[in-house]
C-alpha cells in the first residue's frame, strides 16, 4: 500500500493494494463526515487488480492526517457497533430464556445498535 502526493500537502491520492469496495466505500463515507474535507472519492482502476485509489482534498490540513483520523473514527465506530451488538444479543438471550417458559413466541424488542456520528 503506497501513497502518491503532490507538492501541496492538502490534496493527495492514496493507492492501497489488496483492497476493494469493502473498505474503500466505508473510508470514503467517514471522510465525507469530516468537515475539513472538501472532496473525497475512490476509484478502482481495474477490477481484475485488487487496487484502490482514494483521493482526498482538504481545507489546508495534510491529507494524510485526515485519512488517518477517518480510519480511527471508523475503528471507534466498529468498536461501538460490536459493544452494542454484544449487549443486545445478551439481552435477547436473557429475555428469550424467560419466554421459553411461555408457549407463545412473539417478536422481542428489536436488537438495535445505535450510532452517533
Amino acid at each position: 500500500m503506497e501513497h502518491g502526493s503532490f507538492t501541496d500537502n492538502s490534496a493527495a491520492t492514496f493507492s492501497l493494494t489488496d483492497e476493494d469496495h469493502t473498505i474503500a466505500n466505508t473510508v470514503r463515507f467517514t471522510l465525507n463526515q469530516d468537515p475539513r474535507v472538501t472532496f473525497c472519492g475512490y476509484s478502482i482502476p481495474h477490477p481484475s487488480e485488487a487496487r484502490v485509489n482514494i483521493r482526498v482534498q482538504t481545507t489546508g490540513d495534510p491529507a494524510r492526517e485526515v485519512l488517518k483520523d477517518a480510519c480511527q473514527n471508523l475503528m471507534l465506530m466498529c468498536r461501538h457497533v460490536r459493544c452494542t451488538f454484544d449487549k443486545a444479543v445478551e439481552d435477547f438471550k436473557a429475555s428469550n430464556a424467560v419466554k421459553a417458559m411461555k408457549i407463545d413466541s412473539q417478536d422481542s424488542s428489536g436488537d438495535d445498535s445505535e450510532e452517533s456520528e
Binding site: 480510519c71 465506530m77 428469550n96
Partner: protein
C-alpha cells in the same frame, strides 16, 4: 429480533449504507472457515469422477471453529495446527443393493494422515514409523475444545456419492482454513442480506370506506382501522415492518396522493444464515473485528 442456532435477524439503526454493505461483504467473502481442500484418493471405482467427488467434498460444511486453526501456506507442512484430516472408506459388496454415500461417512482422524508417502531413501528402514502426508506433532484429540466435540460435518445427510455393487471409494481429505474470496466453499454464511425498513406514510386522513378499502388492499395487513369515536374510523399504519413494498395500496385512481411509500434511510434489517461452523452472532462480531483490522492496516501503512 430472531436468533436461532443457524440464522438470525436483527435491526441496525443509525448506521450508514456504506458500513452496512461492508459488513455484508465481509460476512460473505472474508470470514475464514475450514473446508476440504486436498483429497488424496487411494481407490475410486465408482461412477463419480475423482474431480467431481473432490469438488463435492469441498463444499461440505464442517462443524469446527476456524479460529482455533492457522492458515496453511505453500511452504508450510500440514500439521495439527492447520489441517483437519478426514477419511472416507465405503464399499458396496457384490450382490448387495446400491448404497448412497452420505456425509456422515466422513470420519475424523485426530492423529493425522494414515496414507504412507513413498520415499525413495536408501535408508528406508531407519525411521521408526513410516512418513505420511501430514506431520502431526500431537493428536488433535488432546486439544481441549475437541475432547467433547469431535469434528464432524455439520449436516450428516448430505449425499456425496452413490455406489453400485462392487464399487469402492477410499480417500483421505485434508481440510484447511481459507476465506470466501478465494473459493465460495470457504464462505461461512449460506447467505447474508439486509433490507431497509419500509416507511408507509398516510398523507391525508383516510376515513370510513376508504379506510376499509385500504386495509383490504394490502396483502400483508400493514394497515389497521382505529375508531375515532362518533362512528368514524381511520386507517393507521400498524406493521410497517411487514410491508413488502408491493405497491398494491397505491394502485388505483387517487391513492398515490394519499399514501407515500418510502424507505427509512438508516434503519437496516439484517438477516444472517450460517452454514454451521460458527453461530451467526459470533460471525457478525468477527466481521466487525475484521473491518477494524483492515482499518488498522491502513493506518499503520500510512504512518
Amino acid at each position: 429480533v430472531r436468533l436461532n442456532e443457524d440464522d438470525m435477524e436483527f435491526d441496525m439503526i443509525g448506521i450508514d449504507a456504506a458500513i452496512a454493505n461492508s459488513f455484508r461483504r465481509i460476512l460473505i467473502a472474508e470470514l475464514p472457515t475450514m473446508a476440504i481442500e486436498k483429497v488424496l484418493i487411494a481407490n475410486n471405482t465408482s461412477i463419480i469422477q475423482d474431480e467431481v467427488l473432490a469438488h463435492r467434498l469441498g463444499l461440505v460444511p464442517i462443524r469446527v471453529d476456524p479460529r482455533l486453526f492457522d492458515y496453511l501456506s505453500e511452504n508450510d507442512q500440514p500439521n495439527e495446527k492447520n489441517t483437519v484430516v478426514f477419511k472416507l472408506h465405503v464399499q458396496c459388496k457384490r450382490g448387495s443393493p446400491r448404497i448412497t454415500v452420505k456425509s456422515d461417512a466422513l470420519k475424523w482422524l485426530p492423529n493425522g494422515s494414515e496414507l504412507v508417502k513413498e520415499t525413495r531413501n536408501a535408508t528406508s528402514d531407519s525411521s521408526s514409523k513410516p512418513e505420511t502426508y501430514t506431520y502431526f506433532g500431537c493428536s488433535q484429540e488432546t486439544i481441549p475444545e475437541f475432547v467433547k466435540n469431535p469434528i464432524i460435518p455439520k449436516y450428516p445427510d448430505i449425499i456425496v456419492a452413490k455406489l453400485g455393487p462392487g464399487q469402492e471409494i477410499e480417500l483421505e481429505a485434508h481440510a484447511v482454513k481459507g476465506i470466501g474470496k478465494t473459493h465460495a466453499k470457504w464462505s461461512p454464511v449460506a447467505t447474508a442480506w439486509y433490507r431497509m425498513l419500509p416507511e408507509v406514510v398516510l398523507l391525508e386522513d383516510i376515513e370510513d370506506d376508504l379506510a376499509e378499502e385500504l386495509k383490504s388492499k394490502c396483502p400483508v395487513n400493514v394497515f389497521d382501522i382505529e375508531d375515532l369515536g362518533k362512528g368514524r374510523r381511520r386507517a393507521t399504519v400498524a406493521r410497517p415492518r411487514a410491508c413488502t413494498l408491493c405497491r398494491e395500496c397505491i394502485r388505483g385512481d387517487d391513492w398515490e396522493k394519499r399514501v407515500a411509500l418510502r424507505r427509512v434511510k438508516d434503519h437496516f434489517i439484517f438477516t444472517i444464515e450460517s452454514t454451521g461452523a460458527l453461530p451467526p452472532e459470533v460471525l457478525f462480531t468477527e466481521a466487525v473485528k475484521i473491518l477494524e483490522d483492515k482499518c488498522e492496516r491502513v493506518i499503520t501503512e500510512l504512518s
